[in-house]
Amino acid sequence: MINRLPGYILSFFLLVLLQILVFNNIQFSGYVNPYVYILFIFMLPFETPGYLLLILAFILGLTIDLFSNTPGMHSFATVLMAFVRPSLLRAIAPRDDYQPGTTPSMHDYGFGWYFKYTVVLTLVHHITLFFIEVYDFSYFFSTLWRIISSSIFTLIFVFIAQLFVFKKNKRR
């Protein structure tokens, strides 16, 4: 656990920088805003205590807020997502439960499990975020379209990142 700490800190900064410098600047048809920084919450180990999960989500959201001029918006959505995570993990647990020493990754639990896990969390996050952003329901369908297209791009990135993890683990 402890020896994985530097890796988590590094990925925190890497994802934040990637988000604010690259993905916040993607302007594809005006509807697509992938928010890939939530991968950090996906990656956290199963044993992460609940309070730490929430606090990390809050810090992560607030950091993104700091750089995109939206105090409270990302932190609200990210904390909500982190709150859902433990119940979701319990709901989609495999028959013989989670094994010690494994992490929530495609490599350890397969594509189907990882797909369920990330799709639900990404949707929770993006729906909250985009509806807070527009602040009312009069743009319902354009917001819905933004949510769907952005979620797809976020998930594509998340799965590409998983392929890298997969290779790294195999080499060991």
Binding site: I20, L21, N24, N25, I26, Q27, G30, Y31, V32, N33, G50, Y51, L54, I55, A57, F58, G61, D65, L66, F67, S68, N69, T70, P71, G72, M73, S75, F76, V79, L80, F83, P86, I132, E133, V134, Y135, Y139, S142
Partner: protein, 287 residues
Amino acid sequence: MVFVFYETIENSMRNFLLFIFRNHFTFLFLILEIVSFYLLVNFNSYHRASWISSSNKISGNVYQSYSNATQYLMLQQINEELAKENAYLRSQMPASFKDSKDYFSLVYDSLNKRQYTYRSAKVINNSVNKHFNYLTINKGSYNGIKKEMGVISAKGVVGIVKDVTLHYSSVISLLNTRLSISAKLKGKGFFGALGWDGKDYRYAWLNEIPVHAPVTVGDLVVTSGYSAIFPEGILIGTVEEVEKDKGESFFRIKVKLSVDFKDLSFVEVISNNMRDEQLELESTNND
């Protein structure tokens, strides 16, 4: 009797603490969401703490170094724009005026008093794809920039300064559904409110132009000069489409913005030296 009473208090206190401890996950969740919500709501009021906006020191520095790194890739384009801007400025010099008086409205020059001062600044962060878009520029109160000054580029209106720190300012972009500015049709005098609908970054909407106004596609839309923020006659865009709903007495005019918000690098901040005087006079009108 008294002893028993204390014991029950102690017991209920302990039960209460136990209850909180058992449900600490939910309580922490609620606390963090309340904090976020507080930030979110506070953000809507104009006087929120400015430490968290992108004009703050840390994020300002990150964006500054990022923009330093990328500007080499854009030198060609920036040079072109500077050349264009030079030409535009030269065209404003008195020597270049013989018949046209239109350009003089930019610099109001009566009794040798200068009403508007322009300061150039560089855009170091910008977005066009949100509902509420903001820019960050690399000049702040140290360079004389204050809240609510107008921001233009060589091509037209860009936005209004929102927050200022020592070396950076954040600017509400025209592409922000919360911003609406007073605009008129050039040479016709009808004025209305121009705002963005949150969809396409190339178009905005001009409302409140009465239906008896002669509007044609291609007309220039300029600032009205009524708001004490922008001088009169700064270009905003051209009329692209005129819509009229049945029974309405106003047009809905689609305006093609003259500024390409995806391609902004240098802007000018306008300070109106007589703004306080105008606002003071207007504040006496409140009845």
